[in-house]
Every structure is written in C-alpha cells, then in structure tokens.
C-alpha cells in the first residue's frame, strides 16, 4: 500500500458497495412492480390499512437524521469535536425512534392477525397476501439496514470519542454517512410504494 491513504479509492469502494445494496433492494422492487401490475386494486386497499401518520413521521425522522449526519461530517472537518459527537448521538437516536415506530406499527398489524401465514391472509384475497408479504419483507430488510447503519454510526462515534477519527482522517465517518443516506434514500422509495398507493 502506498504510504498516503487514498481516500478517493476508499470512497469508490464504498460507492460500489452502495450500488450493490441498491440492486439488492432493486430485486424486491421488481417483485413489487410485477405484483402491482397484477393486483393494483388490492395494493391500494392494503395501502389504506397502513398508518400514514406513523409512516410520515418516520420519513421526517430519517430525513432529519440524514441532515444531522451530513452536518456531523462538516463539523469534524472544522474540528468541532463536541458538535460532531452531539450530532452523531442525535442521528443514532433518530434511527432508534424509527425502529420503535416500526415496532408499534408491526405490532398493531400482527395484533390484527395480519402477518405472514396468518389465517386472515391465507384465507383472504391473494392480492392482499402478496401486498403484506412484500410489506414485511421490504420493511424488514430495510429495518435491518437501519440497524446496520446505526452500528456503523456508533463505531464512528466511538472512534471520535477515542480520538482516532479527526479532521485529517474521517473517511470512516464519511462512508458511514453515505450508508446512512442510502438507508434514508431507500425509505424514500418504500414509503410511497406502501403507504401512498393510489
């Protein structure tokens, strides 16, 4: 390896990885597209049963956290360590709120006997079964990515606290930030696809 760290190269690697994540979700969006074509009315019906308020709140929470992560990167470049730490803690907290909301949302659905292989779905309309099946798979996988993003942000936070992540070397935070934006971006697509179906 060259003596100087090639940050552009590290970022190229990260972008390639993000690209693969998009394709991963892309596969699911293909499923969504095909089944939407087949069951448009049931998708609309299913969408009405989801709680738009919680969905909208979660969207705002993620958008805000994306902003604070971006701000923390600017802060570390300016050597404002305390600010960076504060912004990062806030972002991780936002991720936590998102998951709590999701928990209540899933909980309510499961309470109403709407979950994979539940009696209501198995004996009900196939279109609804597919809609909620996709809902659980896609939001579940997205939730998993939120958790991974939070872990990455936490690692960056620890590195800032121990002084290993500074204004001269912050590529880890940069990349965690990119990952967090990806999680946000995917949600921006997931939200209208499930909550705002016409």
């Amino acid at each position: 390896m060259s003596s100087r760290i090639d940050e552009t190269g590290i970022k190229i690697g990260m972008w390639l990885f993000l690209y693969s994540e998009i394709i991963l979700f892309g596969g699911l969006f293909v499923l969504y597209a095909v089944y939407f074509y087949e069951y448009a009315e049931f998708f609309a019906l299913g969408g009405k049963e989801l709680d738009r308020i919680i969905g909208a709140v979660n969207t705002v929470v993620l958008l805000v956290s994306s902003f604070t992560v971006a701000a923390s990167i600017t802060a570390i470049q300016r050597d404002a360590r305390k600010q960076t730490i504060g912004l990062l803690i806030f972002s991780i907290f936002c991720g936590f709120i998102f998951l709590v909301n999701k928990y209540f949302e899933w909980g309510a659905k499961i309470h109403h006997d709407i979950y994979p292989n539940s009696d209501t779905l198995v004996n009900g309309e196939p279109g609804l079964n597919i809609f909620f099946g996709l809902y659980y798979v896609i939001t579940g996988l997205h939730g998993l990515h939120v958790i991974i993003g939070m872990v990455l942000l936490t690692i960056s936070l620890v590195l800032v606290l121990t002084g290993k992540l500074t204004s001269s070397r912050f590529v880890m935070l940069d990349n965690s930030g990119l990952y967090w934006h990806l999680v946000d971006l995917i949600w921006i697509f997931v939200f209208p696809l499930f909550y705002l179906v016409l």
Binding site: G13, S20, I23, G27, N117, G133
Partner: protein, 548 residues
Amino acid sequence: MTATQSFYHTSAPPGLTGVKSWLLTHDHKRLGLMYLAAIFFWFILATFLGLMLRTELMTQGRTIMGPEMYNSVFTLHGVIMIFLFMIPGIPAIFGNFFLPIQLGADDVFFPRLNLFSWYLFMLGSLFAVVSLFVGEGFPDTGWTFYVPFSVQNTANVGMTVTAAFILGMSSMLTGLNFVTTFHRMRDKKMGLMQIPLFTWSLYATAWVQILATPVISITLVLVVVERLLNIGLFDPDRGGDPLLYQHMFWMYSHPAVYIMILPGMGVISEIIPVFSRKSIFGYKAIVWSSMAIAIAGSLVWAHHMYTSGMSDVSVFVFSLLTFLVAIPSAVKVFSWVATMYKGSIQLSPPLLFSLMFIYLFSVGGLTGLVLGAAGPNIHVHDTHFVVAHFHFVMFGGTGFAFFAALHYWWPKMFGIMYSFRAANIGAVLTAVGFIFHYVPMLILGLQGMPRRYYDYLPQFETGNFLAGFGGYLMVLGIVIMFVNLLRSFAKRIPAPADPWGGTTLEWKIPSPPPLHNFPEKPEIMEFPYDFTEVVKRSEKNGMKGGVR
C-alpha cells in the same frame, strides 16, 4: 529484509510466523494460494461426484446408488462446481495473484477486505459441508433451487442456499476490490490500452459480479424467508408467481455464466501471443468484446425459460439478444486464431490447453446457438443436449482455461518447473476423454433423453455407457495432470524469472515474486504484447524460442 526475498519468506503484516502468517495475511499472493488450496479440494470432490453420476448412468436401472441419492449427488456436483470452483476459480486464484502484478501494484486496494472475502468463502464452504450432515438429508433441488420444490421439500435446502448467499457475498467483495484496484492502484504510466488482457477480462468480470450478485442474494434470501415464514410470494395459491422466481434466479445466474467464462478468455488471450511470439491480433477488439459480453450477457437471462410459459414476444426478444452475445465471443476466437497465424509457435503445455479451449469452447458456443434459437430449443429443452452444451462451455471452456492458467503461471507462483511430457499426456487424455464423454450426450439429447433423470429407456444405454467410459478416461487425464504438478514440489527444478518469454509485468520479477512484487519500479511498455525484445533475446541465445 532484502527486496528479492520471495513472499514465502516474508509475511504481511510483518512479524507473523507459521500458520498465522497465512491465516492473517494481507498479501494478495498468499491469499491467491489459499484459494488455490481450497478450490483444488472442491474441484476434486465434485469431479468424483460427477464420475459417480456417470457410473450410475452407465447401465439401466440401479447401478451403484438409489434415486434419492442420485438427486442429491447431482445437486452437490452442480452446487460445488458452480459456486466453489467455476465462479471463484480463475478470479480468486489467478486474479488475486496476478491482477495487482500486471497493473504494476504491490497489492490489491483493500488487502484486509481481501482476507475477509477468503474467510467468507471458507464460511460458505463450511455451510455447504455442514448442510450435508445435519437436518433431513442432502439437498436435492439441483443447483437452481427452483420454487416450489425448494420451498416445500424437507431436505436441508435452507443451509445450502445460505452457503450460496455467503459465497456470492465473497465473490462480490472480490469484484469490488478488483475494480477499485484497477482504477486506483494502476501504475501511473499505464494507460487504459496498455493493460494486459487478463486484467481487462477480470475488470469486466468484476463489474458483472458487482451488478448481478445482489440479485441472487435477494432471491436466495427470499427462498430462506419463504421456508421460514411461508409468505407465499412465489406460491400461485396465495397470489404469487413461480415464474418470477425463475426470472430473478436467471437474472443473476446467466450473467454468472460470464463471470465464469470471461476470466478464462482472459487467460487464453495472455497465453496465445506468448507462445506465438507475436503481438495479439485485435487488442482493442478483445477489450471491447469483453465489455460487450459483460453488458449483453446481462440481458439474456430468460433464454433459460422458453418452455416456462413466457409470451412469444419475450421469447423472440431474448432469443435475438442471445444471438448477439455470440458476436463478441466469436470476435475473440477469431482474434486468437489470427494471432497464431504466421507466428513462431512453441507448443508447450499451456498453449496445448489453450488450443483445446478454443476448440471445445467453439463447440460449446455453437451448440449454445442451437439452444438460443426458440424453435430447436423446444426440442432439446432440458435434455442431455443442454448438459453437454454447458459442459462444453464451462468445463471445455473455463475448466481448460483454468488448467492452462495453472500450467502457465505455476512456475511463477511456486518458482518450480513441472515435467512437460507428463503434462502433455495428461492434457491429451483429458481432452480425448472429454470428447468421448460429452459428444454421446449431445446425441442422446437430440434423441430425447432428459437431463437429471435417474433412469432411461433401453435405446439410450449404448450412449450412456460410452459417455461413462469417456468420463473415466477424462478423470485419468486430470489425475495425471495434477500428480505431475504436485511432483514438481518433490523435484524442485527451479524456474527462471521468465521461462516462457512473456512480456507482461509478472515475467519481469523473480519467481516466486518478492513480497512487494517489484524490487525496482517496473518499466511500462508502450504496448503489453510487443515481442521484439523477446525474439531478439532468444536469437542472441541461439535458441529458436524462449522455452526451455
């Protein structure tokens, strides 16, 4: 530490000794060899399984195993050969070892990620092994894991699928590493059109790995989710569409075929000019055809599904696209042959394997067109014709390219020479056995013998018996080849830095290479396949060529 000490004697990171210096290494060369060891093991195992299958089919009825066992054995043969030999084979072993060297770099861009990929590979292999011994028995779905069978059957499919998922991850990270290395670590003086063709083909492959692998990952995740939660996304009773699974599966798995063949083509493009003492014909055409194959190859997946109930329009479109892939492939074949024309040919084992590759791959490619055409496909769909076709491409193509690479770079990797005589005998036996093994299958397929069946009608017995006989001959050839290579460790005849008269950078450094690859800064040639120097040198030495 002297600069010329080989990488076997210096560890990276420094200070590690013994087993640790291998298991914790960041050195791309050691990792390449570690892949070699693991893949070698899997190749031998899967070859043995394949031979068992053909032995079973040599006579009608039960020969050595029952039908359930037969289903499991062909699944294992397929899964191991595809996921543990074909896909990682050339990129992980020779790509890891030679891509950085050909680019004039001292390692890949992410050395630690490289080590991580190796561990993922081993973890995936471990899952594959464990899935054999726990749960309800061997998976028996075939390597395609088609729904609904893969979701409903009680065998241990979940674990095998997980193994494939992890292996896919490993292959994708290797691809990511190669693309970054290609762009960021290349010698500053090396322009795009000065890069050796093997590295170009790995670059094209790496993009396919990054683009396509996530699709199979999500598909395999869905199979596992279906098995656990029973959502019904592919179950027609519950609103799902099983055809969609096939689309998703082939969206990756067809491009994966090009992950398997492109690096092989790269190997051949290296070997042919060296042993013809002549610059490669159509360097740019070969580079562009690699990229064209990578792109067009990603758009042909549904040609596996002509009989699955697609619309006629889709069949027409996919058939047309399939024919298009034949063009860049043929460009390569013509370029190789044109390179040899009026060259000063040195028939050494690597070239012998390459010639066999060209022949067998061409047969595979042409039979591919038979399958790609919508009409004939209906006749030969899911018959032994398909089996023979993809073994011609995958084994006759990638497999022989792998053997060629092994014999071409063996002296560089280990610093020792092997016996040419035994290598030639092994090569000829393997190729002759190959023809006897697969040509009967082509004929059986045209006569209507289905693939994957445990038993067959009496009229197919002669063909199957002959195929089995050819199979034994082929395995004998492979055994001779491997034993010869392994014997070179006992004889230890030292190899010079450049035993062949190669022009790419790996031949300008000692065999085996030192830890940081280049004792002094490499000189980048105007054109990587310029043999004027090599020819001059051998004329001065009074030899016809450089081969000793």
